[in-house]
């Protein structure tokens, strides 16, 4: 067993990478001194960690992780000292009520709520459901309007499970939240979670006889920028889309990509029209096309996409970046980070123009989150 992790001693301005793998979580820190990344981990060795977050609202630094045991289920853990210590396994049981007929298989997303609601938090779980906390994560409950949705019996799991991977609260409205899950697609509430309507008009479902159903799409990720929250970008199971109206309508923006199949998607921290993806060859061969690891970037909201390759292997690189495997951070220069199923983590300090390997040899990476310490 590796040495016990000690946590990272961070200062304001340091970049923190949270990397979840199938065998534990790792923390990386860059203090900007030029000495590179320091590593801490594995935390929760042997357990899968599909969701992590750093919540800095209210002046705090609360680290969250959702380690899952193949045997004993998923827990939600928190650390107020950047990983030096974690709350107990039994402190935050996240469970459906016993009469729900569902059991939490995995936590896929930990999403702090709006900036002006520092006690509000959300979780996306499998089987798909939104959980909400109004007390900073001390207690959790499934959002009943979503739990009891009339479509639930028709939502079906994809290869990764029936997972809620995207939670986008409207920063300007406490009533509006957009979620996405595989498979089911995009749903939105405008009444604080009481009711949810599918918002998939224009999004293709390649694997169904009806290619444009009301719901049932296998959406892999949706992102937006808080400065322009109504503009959404969507990486689909085949298809790249943009919506300018909170998901009411979607338009195809797969312009100049080698494939519109992929999982990961991230948005630039300061440029609402700049988005990053990692195209994969196909659903049958979920690896980077031509053995070239290329991040594609659009700076014009999807009108065009261009490959970013400097510092990334362009031969024999059959890599896969999963749906939560890429993130950005507001470092000033535009920090972009991603991890692969083969256990590599890459970082760019210049908005994707060039890349450097942070770490090789990790277990398969399933989650990358990046933050600058306040």
């Amino acid at each position: 067993m590796p040495d016990a992790p000690k946590g990272i001693q961070g200062n304001a301005g340091d970049i923190v990478l949270m990397v979840g793998t199938t065998k534990g979580a790792f923390l990386f820190r860059d203090d900007g001194s030029g000495s590179g990344w320091t590593q801490d981990g594995p935390h929760f060795p042997g357990e899968e960690v599909y969701a992590m977050a750093l919540d800095q609202r209210g002046g705090g630094r609360r680290l969250w992780a959702a380690p899952g045991s193949a045997f004993f289920g998923t827990t939600l853990r928190r650390s107020d000292d950047l990983g030096a210590s974690w709350s107990g396994k039994d402190e935050r049981p996240v469970r459906f009520s016993e009469d729900a007929g569902l059991s939490v298989a995995r936590i896929w997303q930990i999403m702090p709520g709006r900036a002006n609601e520092p006690e509000r938090m959300y979780l996306g779980v499998e089987p798909t459901c939104l959980f909400e906390s109004g007390d900073g994560g001390d207690s959790w409950a499934a959002v009943q309007g979503f739990l009891a949705h009339e479509h639930r019996e028709k939502w079906t799991p994809g290869n990764g499970g029936l997972c809620m991977h995207t939670i986008l609260p409207d920063p300007g409205s406490r009533e509006r939240i957009l979620v996405a899950f595989s498979t089911g697609g995009v749903y939105r509430t405008d009444d604080g979670g009481a009711s949810w309507r599918p918002r998939n008009v224009g999004v293709r479902a390649e694997y169904q006889p009806d290619k444009y159903p009301e719901f049932g799409q296998c959406v892999h990720k949706v992102v937006h920028h808080p400065d322009r929250p109504e503009r959404l970008f969507l990486q689909n199971h085949w298809g790249l889309y943009r919506s300018d109206d909170w998901g009411e309508h979607w338009q195809d923006i797969a312009n100049g990509v080698p494939s519109d199949f992929g999982f990961a998607m991230a948005i630039h921290p300061r440029e609402p029209d700049t988005v990053y993806i990692v195209p994969l060859e196909s659903d049958g061969f979920r690896c980077t096309p031509e053995g070239r690891l290329r991040v594609y970037r659009t700076r014009d909201a999807g009108a065009s996409w261009h490959p970013l390759t400097e510092g990334l292997p362009q031969e024999d690189a059959l890599e896969t970046v999963l749906r939560d495997g890429m993130d950005t951070a507001d470092t000033g220069g535009g920090g972009v980070y991603f991890g692969t199923r083969s256990g590599k983590v890459y970082a760019s300090a210049d908005g994707g123009d060039s890349w450097a390997l942070v770490r090789d040899g990790l277990p398969p990476v399933v989650c990358v989150k990046a933050e600058v310490l306040a």
Partner: protein, 92 residues
């Protein structure tokens, strides 16, 4: 009295205690697990789902017999029975 023996992975939830003696453990495994829940709810959460079923990769034995083949949660337990909880050999 019924004794429930816990795997090492769950003993951090009991302060390091590896076996729990239940004076009133009921007449079935299901009742014994509910009695365990009253004492150690976090242990129960790790062993059973919200639907009160044993998690798929957890094995429960009563006097060395896997309850999968002896009636599941309805498997009888008697005075002096030993209920052993172990993770299965699955995993990756």
């Amino acid at each position: 009295m019924i004794t429930v023996v816990l795997p090492s992975q769950l003993r951090e939830l009991t302060g390091g205690v590896g076996s729990v003696a239940l004076e009133d453990g009921g007449a079935t495994v299901g009742q014994a697990l509910q009695a365990l829940r009253a004492r150690h709810p976090a242990v129960y959460d790790r062993v059973c789902t919200e639907g009160r079923e044993v998690r798929p990769h957890v094995n429960v034995f009563v006097d060395r017999e896997d309850i999968r083949w002896s009636g599941g949660l309805e498997t009888p337990v008697a005075e002096g029975s030993e209920v052993v909880i172990l993770p299965s050999v699955s995993g990756g």
